[in-house]
């Protein structure tokens, strides 16, 4: 390789004369193709180039070209002079046609415009376009430019945080550290593995540990522990565990079932349960009897034992404490009587001698006892049994519609004897059926059954009411609760039924309503009381208060407001006045008020008339001056004409009177109507009572503006309280209403629910003890976990408009943070505070003087 390059260098120096011919060759395309073919051949035999003469020379050149082509980029050819010329320039420009002869014909020919001059022109134009290059900037200037550019870009980048910063400043609550990372516990092995014993003490300790084969690295188990772990196979352990689980589950199911069963309070259920148990026992006994008569006999003996015990004990005889108390109650209470009888029956049953008879009869005897439960059908002593059949249906009668209990009670007593005649079985049957139907809520089936019962037995129903049967059915059987049924039942009741209702002990006012008014509105009222939706008419009547008087002026409105007050008081007096009465009353009060107002108005006008003139004479010094001028009278006349409508003086007087009245303390009315006397519609508490319970307020000191007719001095301002009050509007608030509102909302748990209290008092910044708070980073910005920078880039540099005016708005102030006004508003529980209270936050706007 080295030899070849050196040769090439030599060739380049020597071949200067032949260069143009080579160039010509290169221009021929065929040769180019050959040159492309050449490299392979050249690679094969590069040493055979010096053999031939010219041909070899040419080939050699081609080879060289090929090699140069192989190297990739074109070598810059050194411009070389290939011909001798007189004019030699240093830029290797050779003048080609220097030696040639000039022909005249050529000169005569016009210059071709498109010839070589075109390119020259182009170049000229290009040169002209280029301006002169400016001088390079001074070092300082250049640095400044760089700095400015860098500042702009970096401040733009920093500006991406603008949104985040604003958000954090406004945030109601910030919890630091922003990123809640979970503390990772490094395992002990890793800690110990990195640590080596160095001091003699440590080495000693480690030596001891090694000696006793204490584990230092993972797993932290001594060999003994390992052995114990391996003792039980995994599968076995699993199986055992599964078994245990199953057993535990079964046990818990059983327990739950038992608990459920135990909790059932239904007597009937227990009765049935007991019965079934007895049956079971009997069955067993029977089987025993068949299979093993000896054992059966033993059982019989056991029964005999029981009987003996019963005979010996006083347990079921009516001698216990409970029994005696029941006996006393039995006179009045059916249940007590029943319980007593039950107990007696039980005693009887237990004392009954077990008849050792042929076993066929026994089973059929005993179940009979059981099916009838306690009231025993066996004809041992019917007088001992009392009359459970008559008593059983009694509670049902009570459960029926409440409103007609009294007649039922009366009639039921009357029908005792008939009920006694009923066979117990039937009574029981009835009982069961009724109960079942009540449960299923199937009125039709019930009525059918009733019908069947009636036809079959011909006996009267146990729960009979004075209401006709169809009506009764409606009342009793409808699935609606009884009181509601009553309400609903009012309107569709047929007239005769209504009359009956009227007879029944219904509250008098209700009866009145039923009696005199057309049904719909009253019904509506009733519905309102029942909590149902009233028809719109009724509501409208409640909202409007119709009156004869027409309200036109502001004064009238005010008197109306007073009137309402009076009305409220009267409402207190008459709690529930009838509608008509109320209307009448309204009309009356309206009349009275109109009269009052009229008198008042009269008085006012009188006063105004009386006082008007001297007022004007006294205080209007300006008009006096004006009068001296010539046009004064005219002007004055104009003014009076212009303000003819409004009487300023009278207005002021009115205002002052109002202020005076407002400052007067109101007497406290503690009268409770209906206490110690009759109450009701149209009844007023007696004057004696009113006198007794109306507490008069102590007289107020005389007003300061008492003797100043054209001054109102407000005396609301309390100097002692003023020391505690805010005298001027604090910073973030813009209006005093805002501030007052923020004061009005209480924060404490006394006024707020626990949840609201927690929300209201949530601290602004929460930090956790012992946690390092790292500076904010892109990952901390919420809801931008993956492309956080994208979010950060949401807002570029904000324009600062206020800068030129020199009133740069500070970031902190632009957003009122700490006690932002809207917080008060946002609180859901807004309460109106009556103005009368001593509220430190509220400051009465003192209005001292208001001269005319």
């Amino acid at each position: 390789m080295a030899t070849r390059t050196s040769r090439r260098r030599a060739l380049r120096q020597g071949a200067g004369a032949r260069r143009d011919t080579r160039r010509r060759f290169a221009a021929v395309p065929a040769c180019g193709a050959m040159a492309e073919q050449e490299p392979a051949a050249a690679a094969a035999g590069s040493d055979s180039d010096s053999e031939e003469g010219e041909d070899g020379e040419r080939r050699h050149r081609q080879l060289l070209e090929a090699i140069s082509a192989l190297s990739g980029r074109k070598r810059r050819k050194l411009a070389e002079r290939s011909e001798a010329s007189g004019q030699v320039s240093e830029f290797n420009v050779s003048c080609k046609g220097a030696g040639e002869k000039l022909l005249l014909s050529e000169l005569l020919q016009p210059i071709h415009p498109k010839s070589t001059l075109g390119s020259v022109r182009k170049e000229l134009a290009r040169v002209k376009q280029k301006a002169a290059v400016e001088l390079p900037l001074s070092k300082e200037e250049a640095k400044r430019v760089v700095r400015e550019a860098a500042y702009v870009t970096s401040s733009k980048e920093v500006g991406k945080w603008q949104q985040v910063v604003l958000q954090n400043r406004r945030a109601e609550q910030l919890v630091f550290p922003l990123r809640q990372d979970i503390a990772t516990v490094t395992p002990l092995e890793r800690v110990t593995s990195a640590w080596k014993a160095r001091t003699p003490l440590e080495q000693e300790i480690f030596g001891l540990l090694h000696k006793t084969q204490q584990p230092i690295t993972d797993p932290l188990l001594t060999p003994e522990e390992m052995a114990s772990v391996q003792a039980m196979s995994l599968e076995e352990a699993r199986r055992r565990r599964a078994e245990l689980q199953k057993a535990r589950a079964l046990q818990s199911y059983y327990e739950a079932k038992a608990r459920r069963a135990k909790r059932i309070k239904s007597k009937k259920y227990h009765r049935v349960l007991k019965k079934s148990r007895r049956r079971q026992a009997l069955k067993e006994f029977e089987q025993l009897h068949k299979s093993d008569p000896a054992a059966a006999l033993e059982r019989l003996e056991e029964l005999e034992q029981l009987r003996m015990q019963e005979r010996m004990s006083l347990k079921h005889q009516n001698k216990g404490k409970w029994a005696r108390s029941r006996a006393i109650m039995a006179k009045y209470d059916l249940e007590a009587r029943k319980a007593l009888q039950e107990q007696l029956a039980r005693n009887k049953e237990l004392m009954q001698k077990v008849r050792v008879e042929p076993p066929e009869e026994e089973p059929c005897e005993v179940p009979e006892e059981d099916t009838t439960a306690l009231p025993m059908p066996s004809g041992a002593n019917p007088w001992m049994l009392g009359k459970p059949s008559g008593l059983a249906p009694e509670p049902e009668a009570q459960e029926g519609p409440r409103d007609d209990t009294v007649p039922v009670a009366v009639e039921s007593k009357g029908k005792m004897e008939e009920e006694e005649e009923l066979s117990e079985e039937e009574a029981l049957l009835q009982d069961f059926e009724q109960k079942r139907q009540q449960r299923t809520g199937n009125p039709e089936g019930h009525s059918k059954d009733h019908g069947a019962d009636e036809t079959e037995t011909g006996a009267e129903q146990p729960r009979d009411s004075p209401v006709p049967p169809d009506c009764a059915e409606e009342l009793g059987d409808s699935p609606v609760p009884p009181d509601c049924a009553e309400e609903l039942g009012d309107s569709p009741v047929p007239p005769d039924c209504a009359e009956e209702l009227g007879d029944s002990p219904v509250p008098p006012d209700c009866a009145e309503e039923l009696g005199d008014s057309p049904v719909p509105p009253d019904c509506a009222e009733e519905l309102v009381s029942a909590g149902l939706e009233p028809p719109p008419q009724a509501q409208e009547e409640l909202l409007l208060s119709e009156q004869l008087r027409r309200v036109q002026t502001m004064e009238d409105m005010e008197s109306l407001a007073k009137e309402e007050l009076v009305e409220e008081q009267e409402k207190l007096v008459a709690l529930r006045p009838g509608k008509r009465a109320r209307q009448q009353e309204k009309a009356r009060t309206g009349d009275r008020h109109t009269k009052k107002a009229a008198t008042k108005r009269k008085m006012i006008s009188l006063e105004a008339v009386l006082d008007g003139k001297p007022q004007e004479m006294d205080c209007s010094s300006l008009p006096v001056v004006l009068e001296e001028e010539e046009g004064g009278i005219e002007q004055r006349g104009m003014i009076t004409e212009a303000f003819a409508g409004d009487d300023v003086v009278a207005d002021f007087r009115r205002e002052k009177r109002k202020a005076e009245e407002a400052m007067k303390p109101q007497p406290v009315n503690l009268v409770l109507p209906g206490w110690g006397e009759w109450g009701g519609t149209g009844l007023k508490p007696s004057t004696r009572k009113v006198k007794r319970f109306l507490i008069k307020a102590p007289p107020v000191p005389p007003r300061k503006d008492q003797h100043l007719p054209h001054v109102i001095m407000s005396e609301k301002r309390n100097i002692h309280a003023a020391a505690h009050q805010v005298s001027k509007l604090p910073f973030p608030f813009e209006r005093h209403q805002q501030f007052e509102q923020s004061m009005r909302t209480p924060l404490g748990p006394t006024w707020n629910t626990q949840r609201a209290f927690q929300k209201l008092t949530a601290p602004r910044v929460i930090t956790r003890a012992g946690h390092i708070i790292q500076p904010i980073s892109a990952e901390d910005v919420p809801d931008t976990a993956p492309g956080s920078r994208a979010r950060l880039g949401g807002e570029a540099m904000p324009e600062r408009k206020a800068v030129p005016r020199g009133k740069a708005v500070p970031k902190g102030k632009a957003v009122p943070r700490g006690k932002a006004v809207p917080r008060g508003k946002a609180v859901p529980k807004g309460k109106a505070v009556s103005s009368g209270r001593a509220v430190p936050g509220q400051k009465a706007q003192p209005r001292h003087r208001r001269a005319q």
């Binding site: 860098a150 500042y151 920093v158 945080w161 707020n752 910044v765 708070i773 500076p775 904010i776 970031k811």
Partner: protein, 445 residues
């Protein structure tokens, strides 16, 4: 016969365990709880009073240095560790829970000018008057090992401050210029200069970590960009700025502690005027450090006191001082936002509570609720004169008190004079210059 009795569900009044609180049924009818504002006012008053009663911020003092404490550094990973460097070249590492010095190193000859911990907490750097930068291991040397720095770089000039990058193994020193160093190399990666003056402190931006701020003794604050290795902008104030501190939650906000007794909070995008001028100190402010929540900062002053300023307020909310505390040179706010450490001339490091009346230790939930409620009440009624009077009351040593008074008089006199001048000159010729603009001399691009 059925007797109707009142029946209540026992679930409503029986507690589940005897450790539970008795359930108190409540009726929230406002009629039953009248005078809510008045009652809450009283509660707020009491809360404010109690706050002042319990305001005992001083916890302890760490003594052990034999010369004034010149610089401190927080451990980035451990709350209980703090490092301090003294004027005699001694560096001490303290355990705050035990309040003990756990390690002492004679790091430099002469002052320890600055120190900072590496972001991972494994080592720390100190610079001293002996023109060296030294890197030390955070852990104490093993048994039999000698106390030696990991690296020592000998520079040509004295370094006056150092700060470490928040994420990368890069640190910056300042002296005659700001140098950015790679930890692995003994020559700076790049040197940033703008003018020739000694730079007193340099700080990396904790959020956009390629930004740096420095303050020089020719009264300017210069910002740099590390990536482009060029300064960005320079703002010249009336007087020299001693240190600056970046807000850890707001990337573009930093606060500068100035010799003219004030602190200036700047937005780095708008350096023409500070966002806020914090004035309360009566002598040069020597150091400033932000709370990790970025809501407040603490400043140490030559007037022997430290003050806590809310970022958005012009005046301090708290001033701490003790009889024995001399000029406070350095101050740090711990990373859990609970405590403040200050190192002063008289060789002590003092530990303060950041919230003077805070109860330390674990709080029961009820205590916490009561505390929150009281806090909100105080906030709600803060404008009421009686409450404000109590809440604002602070005791000051006589020297500071007198100086404050004096300065108030001076300020008033200046204001009056300006007013008079304005009154007696052509309207518009004496312009109103807002306080924020007054202290800025120029902004150099």
């Amino acid at each position: 016969m059925r007797v109707k009795v009142l029946s209540r569900n026992p679930d409503d009044y029986v507690r589940e365990t005897k450790l539970d609180l008795q359930r108190v049924p409540r009726n929230y009818d406002p009629v039953l709880h009248p005078f809510e504002v008045a009652r809450e006012y009283v509660r707020a008053l009491n809360a404010t009073k109690l706050e002042r009663v319990f305001a005992k911020p001083f916890l302890s003092s760490l003594d052990g240095h034999r010369d004034g404490v010149n610089c401190m550094a927080k451990h980035p990973k451990s709350l209980s560790t703090v490092l301090s460097g003294a004027c005699d070249g001694e560096v001490k590492i303290w355990n705050l829970t035990q309040r003990k010095c756990i390690r002492t190193i004679q790091a430099h000859e002469g002052f320890v000018r600055g120190m900072c911990a590496r972001f991972c907490g494994t080592s720390f750097f100190t610079v001293g008057d002996d023109k060296t930068v030294k890197q030390w291991k955070m852990e104490s040397p093993e048994y039999g090992e000698e106390e030696e720095p990991i690296h020592t770089i000998l520079g040509k000039t004295v370094y006056t401050g150092i700060d470490h990058h928040w994420k990368e193994p890069v640190f910056a020193t300042c002296g005659h210029q700001v140098d950015i160093w790679d930890e692995q190399r003994t020559s700076p990666k790049c040197s940033l200069t703008w003018g020739f003056d000694s730079i007193s402190s340099v700080k990396f931006n904790p959020i956009e970590t390629y930004l740096l701020g420095s303050c020089a003794s020719d009264r300017n604050i210069v910002l740099y960009d590390m990536r482009k290795s060029t300064p960005l902008k320079k703002v010249i104030l009336n007087m020299r700025t001693n240190t600056l501190c970046w807000n850890p939650m707001e990337a573009f906000i930093f606060t500068a502690a100035n010799e003219d007794y004030n602190l200036y909070t700047f937005d780095m995008r708008f350096l023409e005027s500070p966002v806020m001028v914090h004035m309360d100190h009566v002598s040069a402010v020597l150091d400033v450090d932000y709370s990790p929540t970025g809501k407040e900062f603490v400043s140490a002053s030559f007037d022997k006191s430290i003050r806590i300023f809310p970022v958005d307020k012009g005046h301090s909310r708290e001033v701490y001082h003790t009889k024995r505390m001399q000029h406070v040179i350095t101050v740090k706010w711990t990373s859990d936002n609970k405590y403040i450490l200050c190192g002063s001339d008289e060789m002590n490091i003092r530990l303060w509570k950041a919230n003077a009346s805070e109860k330390l230790g674990v709080l029961a939930p009820r205590e916490k609720a009561a505390m929150n409620y009281n806090q909100k009440l105080k906030e709600k009624f803060q404008f009421h004169p009686q409450i404000r009077r109590i809440a604002r009351h602070r005791h000051l040593p006589k020297s500071i008190y007198c100086q404050i008074k004096e300065q108030r008089i001076m300020k008033e006199a200046r204001r009056r004079k300006e007013m008079n001048r304005r009154k007696h000159s052509k309207p518009g010729s004496v312009p109103f210059v807002p306080e924020r603009k007054k202290h800025i001399v120029a902004v150099v691009k």
